[in-house]
Symmetry: D4
Subunit: 253 residues, 8 copies
């Protein structure tokens, strides 16, 4: 933007335009020119590190088009979330070199970056049914350059399974606690760990689980010390935030 306003200012200084014309031109500058805001929140942490496409409401053609233009623009990798298996097949058929992770419903173009950041991101689930959400979180974190540790099926009704992994939990940089019926997982991990814990309620369960509401409320009530909550089934959001926290220093000095 600066250059555009500068042009106006030059023209004014050079007497090519009047003060009123300059005023008008400056006021008309579209907002995005001012640099106040990031280009697109969903589009990744740092230019050159990878871009994200939300695949749910797009056709394979649209997704392919966006991927191509990103790669053309020099992007080295692209993450497509909520991608159906059918759409993945279409993408591959159209020549996109994409690895598809069926459980996580993610597609990734390009190589994963080397892991960086402060430490490791631990992803823990209460049961095996929570694994799809966990994989979405783990792969997202890896896509943004984090080392991950998966602790699956360590729900609190068998607390020993969780405690057997005390080392991983206590040495984590960030922990993502994912649970449906047993929203309790976030509380217990929050108590064991000394790092930020991101809780993800899942819609797993039946009856009084009410599609994740029980886990959501349970997790909200555990927020005393380092635990915060993202939306039901929002594995991507948890992985993204975990990466952001795990790279805290990188972008600050």
């Amino acid at each position: 933007m600066d250059s555009e306003i500068r042009e106006v200012l030059s023209a004014l200084r050079d007497g090519k335009i009047s003060e009123d014309e300059a005023l008008l031109k400056i006021k008309k500058k579209p907002f995005e020119d001012l640099g106040y805001a990031k280009v697109d929140l969903h589009r990744g942490i740092r230019q050159g590190m990878g871009e994200v496409i939300y695949g749910a409401s797009k056709t394979p053609e649209q997704i392919a088009g966006i991927i191509r233009s990103l790669l053309d623009a020099g992007e080295s990798r692209v993450l497509v979330t909520r991608l159906s298996a059918e759409a993945a097949v279409s993408l591959k058929a159209s020549g996109i070199e994409l690895r598809y992770y069926e459980k996580a419903r993610l597609g990734i173009v390009g190589e994963m970056p080397p892991a960086g950041g402060i430490g490791r991101v631990v992803i823990a689930t209460g049961g095996t049914s929570d694994i799809p959400v966990a994989e979405e979180a783990a792969l997202t974190a890896e896509f943004f350059g984090n080392e991950t540790v998966r602790l699956y099926d360590v729900g609190v009704s068998g607390i020993h399974r969780l405690l057997a992994h005390s080392d991983e939990i206590m040495s984590a940089s960030v922990i993502i606690a994912i649970a449906g019926m047993e929203g309790a997982l976030a509380s217990v991990i929050g108590g064991l760990a000394d790092c930020p814990v991101i809780a993800v309620p899942t819609s797993v369960g039946y009856g009084a689980a009410f599609d994740g509401l029980a886990a959501l409320l349970s997790m909200m009530n555990s927020c005393a010390s380092g635990v915060s909550v993202v939306n039901i089934d929002n594995g991507f959001g948890a992985g993204y935030l975990a990466s952001m926290i795990n790279h805290m220093t990188a972008g600050r000095d």
Copy 2:
């Protein structure tokens, strides 16, 4: 009842009444005479072991009257639940020898019975704010003749506090798990223990605790193995049920 029907039958056999009259008399017998139902559910487990008065909606005069008639009828002890401190003062002033437990809002007349049953009833709470409900449960269990163990403030966000009591938990006969914000307690105890666990959600907490709803839903979702749930803040109900389970064999053979 038997004797009353028998009277009718005798009268019929003796020709004092007709068949029609006998039929009418039998049909008119009030239902309770048939022995199908217990006299009053709230009134204790076994005649002679203690009676219970729900104090919430009764005046001190009414409560005193009921206590006196129970004692006159040979009852050795009486438990008054949801008794306000003011009502307790009034009762004592009117000559009732009553011990008042302020936290639990319970009044007890007569000595506690000797502890019996299969084993011990463990009462665990997530926090210190849950203690009033826990005391209601513990004293109720003691009133019905159970040995109790209190494990207070062993919430799951500090799991070591709970695990430090693994012995008590693993050797319990019945466990009452009481928690407000951290409904997770029931799940964790359910996983450690090998006995029935009665979960009591409490209205403790704020915000998304929604007066106990979060804990209630969380506990309902832990019901996989030996855990069941009673109403929010229902310490009496939990203590009563625990006693019933802990005396299972006593009444059966």
Copy 3:
């Protein structure tokens, strides 16, 4: 576990390892070795009496594998819950000798054990639509060695149907009260019976039944005397808990 730690201790005493090495080895022992926790909550009451597999989120191949390893390990019987008819066919085709109970969606390998425990477990339902949940509860109880009595379609809007079974109700050891629209069943049975009552709300009904919420809330409010509640449609949990209560003395002396 003991034997493993004992090995370490022997090696230390015999001078084969240093004190530091012994310390390290002991600390590294996975938690389950320490005996603090049951091996797996879902896996049955007593070693040798039967194991349980939650079939909902597993492939027939996975289930078959687990069954085989359990039988190899000497298990005499296995219960598979939430098993679809298709998965049952696959299991049989793969050579597993399994009896499939379609209504209850249960598969059982091996013979039912002889009935033991304190007395009989009565399973009552409000309507005929509640029967699938009831069968899950009843077969689970039988699988763990309990005599069962089925009282189906005895909902409170026809109270005589229930009262006609007063004998069964009053002589039960534990009662499982299962109802959808008429959550009232638990209250009425709780009033008639002198034993623990486990209430199971079902998702049966329409309109203001709200998928079991109405029955759940209704049952929670009946918890005054010996009644507690498990999750909506959780027949297995009710049967398991009933068995636990009905075998109270067996494991305690």
Copy 4:
């Protein structure tokens, strides 16, 4: 109204006004003149039998004024609902001869009418805490000329108490079933009785009673056969509807 339209028609016939003027006058007649609607729903069943004032949002002066104008207009009796004790004292102090029923929060001026209608209106409650709502219902029914039978504290957790009154229930003309925690009462009575049952949920209870929501949902689900529901704590509405049903024939021939 007729007389007013008639005046217009006379004037037209007599040539005093033109057709157009007549048309305009008739169209301008306020709607209530056309007799399409009752004067005021809350104001009672039949002119001369009694009028009702909703006292909740009115000052004693306003209430006194309305009472006086009703009596002046020849009304023989007036019912004031939701009347506070203080307002009742004020009314009496201002010279209104009013009987005040504290539990029901009702004030009545004038004598109760003789009981009429098809039969008796039975008012049953689950517990003693429901009695205020029940008294509001019973006195309302009596105010409109119905014989009433009160069956209080016959909740379903002690079913014998209810069954002991089978005669009153089976011979009732209309039954009002009032219950808070035990919304089950409506179902059981609905099954015993052969007449319309009006269910009134109350806000009595705690925890999962959620201010009457549990009872409301429970009662909605009992609506199979002759049971319908009015608002939480709406004793007046139930008494009014019961009277309407109990006088069905009176107004039809």
Copy 5:
């Protein structure tokens, strides 16, 4: 039952059995024999007038069996509710002479009885989408011998459509007001009519209709004067209750 007890009494009087034996026999009589309760709530108002089968959870074979046994027992007509079109075809194929009403999902065997009762039952709906529930109500009322008047699509957002039928509304004996999104219908009709109004919320609508919850709550709040509510979509219940009210005098003298 009487005859059975009478047999026992005769045997006693004749000395064929002892007093003790008589006592035992009488106590063992199944409850339903005592005449305390109706045989089956769902099964109609009066013996000989028609029976009802709830078709939702029954196979065509089961339904056919029940119909045949009812007809054999002398029943002149049978109503099957919640009957799918496929089941109706099966029933006809198996030789049952049944008229099927597709919208209402009702099947009727035998002729409709002549209309009786105090007056007419008016069935009004807010929109055309509410008609299936309305037809269930109307046909149920006709099946039990009531004259019906259908006022469909008279929702309050076009109040003139409703007012154009003021005559039918004001001369009705009972009114069934059925509405989904516009739960307001019950309030307006309740204000116009001078007879009991049964409100039926429907699950019609979208968004904030929340499957009938909005209409249900709206109708509950209209219960001031003669309006009561049955379950969402419960056309049968409304028709049955309307018939009960419309026949009030018939059964009472």
Copy 6:
């Protein structure tokens, strides 16, 4: 109606009927004749400008019939809402010249009218998934003669996208703000704009979006200054209301 009443008045004046007969005839006039109410709310703003058919619960045959009769009656254009693609094909096959807008599920017969009104109607959406609702709103507004501006995918998590359109927002006559997960859009636009804002929550989203409830509540809480809310997904309602507001003066003088 006037003419009909006039006839009665003429007859009276001419002595052909008596005053009583005239009175009766006038009272019997059906309500709709009195002109108190609009013919049908859903049927458009002004006779001759276009009619609307709610297509959801009608067969293609019914819709075709209504369209034909409207066109025969001189209607120049017809809007069919909630029209499925299949029904649109059927309509075309039956000879109706209809343009089908698939996303909006709208069918339109006849030409769009020239745009009029005070100014432009801006339709803004939070995301691309909200576009179907937005198109329903935009096409409805155009159908009733409004110029529209579409601002799609300007959700508040990328505020610059919205601010880049400040001109359109600040010069709008009415704004329709449509958002699912990000109900915040209405608040932000309400703060930027100086005209009425109609908020439309959508059922887009997952998890704690709860089918539009989150957006609905969020929007209700933004209602401070010029913002009001219509039902979830109700694009038609928003477009209709926007047109009504944008034509405020046209119909008033």
Copy 7:
């Protein structure tokens, strides 16, 4: 703002500052200077016509200070909403000439402006308890220069009361429909009127009114044709929006 940017431009043109300095100064201008946004949404429609202070969370001293600075700045009138009676007394005592409207909890400084706009704003309420919210709406509308018509206690359960005012309703420019228990009012008025209807649910009522939730949901479902909804009890918001709509043309040419 213009003048400030103009100063920068002048300085640049005159060579007093460099281009870079000018660029920096312009970018640093606080946002509000750019004219992109209204100064304060709550602060009224048009400069000079009146300002609004939200009184709820402010001390009388703070309110007095704001009023004085507004008057000093040339404001001719000020509206204070949610003002307690005590605060009003304090304001007067501190010398502010303020008229206090107790029911509406509004304080107004300065004269009401002459009524302008397209037509009249009609404010209708379902009952007398809704009047405080209605007065807040009516006085707000008057404060912003609108003629108002009050139609109170015209709830739909006595539809004639509403219809008697058909003239006012049909000739209104905007209608505000305010109702608690009877949310139906908005639907009925929406059907009668040919202008925008703003619905305001109130927290009046008891039981299933759930503090305005029932009315809110009911009104949301009426949004088909010209009806939209603001927050529960939000009389100010409705009055403000009504004024905005009623002045549509004034600000557009």
Copy 8:
């Protein structure tokens, strides 16, 4: 712990105890000795940096006792949350040197530490009523050694107020977004910022705010990119987590 187990091992090696005795001793070690868990979650980030007491359910005497023992143990500062003004007065009277922050309901003993961490913690609120929660968050963050920036009353309905602070937002290390009615704040800030955003819903508002539920759901739905949510009104939790994130590197290398 190590030293204690080492003692056992030494004793074994030295032949002072048998292998069995060693085994027993090791198994009996209380869990906390094993170092698996932190001592107390609520008690601060790092020993020596400050301790926290939850004041809500404790008497001033209890609080004073805990403070004294912490200071005796060498703690340099103590934070007491949810401390009432009365309790603060008591504490001071008992000789504790405590600064009381009334709005935040916090008491602090000892000096604030110097600010450290990666950068600044920005605390933003939607309105002035949210300030108490914000102060709790800000002071907590300062107590744990963070520089804070307060941006109050920057709600999204006046977006310019927020954008005027773009610099602070874009250069923040962590942002705490606190809002009641306008839960939208978190979304907008999440879009502007490039750092973790912790959203705190507040119970501020009325009507459809439902005590913070609306804001909570709204914030849950914004969780796409770096936004997570803590419990309603949980200022402490947000401040604690912000500090944890802002000190990410400090504790890791």
